[in-house]
């Protein structure tokens, strides 16, 4: 399946071990009625001012182990509801990574060291390779595993299964 994706945006920098409760707190999940409403509370336990400054073209750039902690899918769907399309991190916690692929949010693994807050960045994902363009440099990266491309490009697992009614197409 041929696949090519290019995303341009502004880097928003986060540190290591950003857990799912820092992305969106469990207590907001209890109180809020939908994901749109919860976008106001994104990253509030890191800094309550972040949510208001997030723009749909922002690309989240983080250190290692992004999305550790709980398996709760709102940690992916709330950033999605805020318009975020991609996250670049040194590494992801595995359930966050699954949830991202399953919701069409692009998880890119790359050495994010040196990327600065507010810097314009571009992510290019093709079948053959993935890289992050930064100024005049290029950082090699890991995009969507070939086996999962079909789930990702169809917008996630829900639309994939709605169409295919099973996993036969993957194996």
């Amino acid at each position: 399946m041929s696949f090519e994706l290019s995303l341009k945006g502004r880097a928003r920098i986060f540190g290591d071990d950003v857990n799912t409760d820092y992305i969106i707190s469990s207590r907001r999940k209890r109180d809020a009625k939908d994901e749109q409403e919860m976008t106001r509370f994104l990253f509030e336990d890191i800094d309550p001012a972040i949510a208001a400054s997030l723009k749909p073209e922002d690309i989240i750039v983080a250190g290692k182990n992004f999305g550790c902690g709980s398996a709760m899918e709102v940690a992916v769907t709330v950033p999605r509801a805020a318009g975020i399309r991609a996250i670049v991190a040194k590494s992801f916690a595995r359930t966050f990574y699954r949830n991202a692929i399953n919701n069409g949010l692009l998880p890119v693994i790359a050495d994010t060291h040196g990327i600065k807050e507010g810097e314009p960045i571009e992510i290019t994902v093709t079948q053959a390779s993935t890289f992050v363009v930064l100024g005049d440099g290029r950082i090699p990266a890991q995009g969507v595993p070939a086996e999962l491309v079909s789930i990702f490009i169809e917008g996630g697992l829900v639309s994939y299964l709605a169409k295919h009614r099973g996993f036969a197409a993957i194996g």
Binding site: R27, N65, E73, P145, A162
Partner: protein
């Protein structure tokens, strides 16, 4: 040349469920034997299941829903979510663990749903717990749960395995919790990302099944995808008591390939704790000793079984009191565990001392129901996570420790070594 190396437990279980031999690093579609959805994930999964356009689940008898994260319901909105779960469960032949029955993971084990050699997936990160029973327990998201309810399958990457060899025996007052805290200190919070852990070594034989559960449970705090214990007679008799007779345990091949091996000498483990706000910031209890505590929480899928509550009580009993000003919150992992405490008098003893008892379930663990500490409070807990805000108060400071160390803090009002508690709660 075909690679003729042996396989890990993980590769064997996943291969058996993929219908072909698999190796670490490969993607596979695997069938799932049991599924769990909680009130934190099932309502969303039900919506996603509907959005996928399926009318009926693949096999209702392989699914359970638990009302545990919000137990009892904290608002009319949550009560409506419980009702939505109940209706969907009833229509599809799904088991429902109702409010008050306990934490889903504990109920899954009590119900005999966890069998060696099976794959148990659930939309909750602590599904790794089932590895204690030689099952591949794995946490998934709500979309995965919806897809698995519909198809009986999930996608996954076969993880590489890190072998953990336990040798020797613990010396009291060190407990199983201290073993996993030590392992977290060594691995760090991302040290097992994408990996399966497989526990072996002669040290396992000295650990009861409930102690293995504590260790497997917190493997997710190092990022592990699964945490499997070898099967032995202890596993067999534990399962026998839960009416699980058809055991197909899985052992690794002698030539199995591990990415690394880590050895832990149990005799060298001493009581320790994780400092706020990082589960891998683990130090000996002594390093924080003397710090006053406001709340002590004995509960969760890690440390809320009757044995844990009794271990804490045994230390409190030495002092004959709960220190003034300390709120001791007891949340049994399930109704069955609560009944054990009622039967042997432990519960009466605790409440007479002034402990606060809350509904079996997740309780204060994730700040969604149960006792929430005030901002700025110092909390010590038998639970598994201590991020900022974890228990519902963004500025509480949460220490994680064994039931014995939590008991010592309740008795003395300060973080203290479990061995240091003497009558009247003085620190010896």
């Amino acid at each position: 040349m075909e690679n003729r190396k042996g396989r890990t437990i993980t590769e064997k279980i996943l291969g058996a469920h993929a219908g072909r031999g698999v190796r670490a690093g490969e993607f596979a579609i695997v069938s799932v034997d049991q599924l769990l959805g909680t009130d934190g994930s099932a309502p969303m999964a039900i919506d996603l299941f509907d959005a996928m356009g399926f009318k009926a689940v693949h096999e209702g008898s392989r699914i359970a829903f638990s009302c545990d994260h919000y137990a009892p319901a904290t608002s009319a909105r949550i009560a409506a979510l419980h009702e939505k779960m109940r209706r969907f469960a009833e229509a599809n032949g799904i088991a429902l663990f109702r409010v008050g029955e306990g934490i889903g993971h504990q109920r899954m084990i009590e119900d005999g749903r966890i069998r060696p050699g099976t794959i148990v997936a659930g939309a909750d990160s602590h599904c790794v717990t089932y590895g204690a029973l030689n099952a591949f327990g794995v946490g998934i998201g709500a979309s995965d749960l919806a897809g698995a309810m519909a198809t009986g399958k999930i996608w996954l990457k076969v993880p590489h395995t890190l072998r953990i060899v336990l040798t020797g025996k613990l010396t009291p007052p060190a407990q199983a919790k201290d073993i996993i805290l030590e392992l977290l200190r060594r691995l760090r919070a991302d040290g097992a990302d994408y990996l399966a852990l497989e526990f072996s070594g002669d040290g396992i034989a000295s650990l009861g099944l409930e102690e293995r559960i504590v260790i497997a449970n917190m493997a997710t705090e190092a990022g592990a995808k699964a945490a499997l214990f070898a099967f032995d007679e202890i596993t067999r008799s534990f399962l026998g008591e839960r009416s699980v007779a058809d055991c197909s345990p899985v052992a690794p091949d002698t030539q199995a390939h591990y990415i690394d091996t880590l050895t832990i000498e149990l005799a060298k483990i001493t009581p320790r704790l994780a400092l706020p706000h990082h589960v891998d910031a683990v130090v000996p209890v002594g390093e924080a000793a003397g710090r006053p505590v406001d709340m002590v929480f004995i509960g969760t899928c890690t440390g809320g079984r009757a044995c844990d509550i009794r271990d804490a009580l045994a230390v409190i009993r030495k002092a004959g009191r709960i220190a003034p000003g300390v709120e001791l919150v007891i949340t049994p992992a399930s109704r069955a565990e609560l009944e054990l405490l009622i039967a042997d008098g432990s519960l009466g003893e605790l409440t007479a001392l002034g402990a606060v008892l809350t509904t079996p379930g997740c309780g204060a663990c994730c700040g969604t129901s149960g006792a929430i500490p005030r901002d700025g409070a110092t909390v010590i807990s038998t639970g598994n996570r201590n991020f900022k805000g974890r228990m519902g108060a963004p500025k509480a400071e949460i220490f994680l420790a064994s039931p014995a160390a939590c008991g010592a803090a309740a008795a003395t009002g300060r973080i203290s070594e479990p061995s240091a508690v003497s009558p009247n709660g003085r620190i010896a």
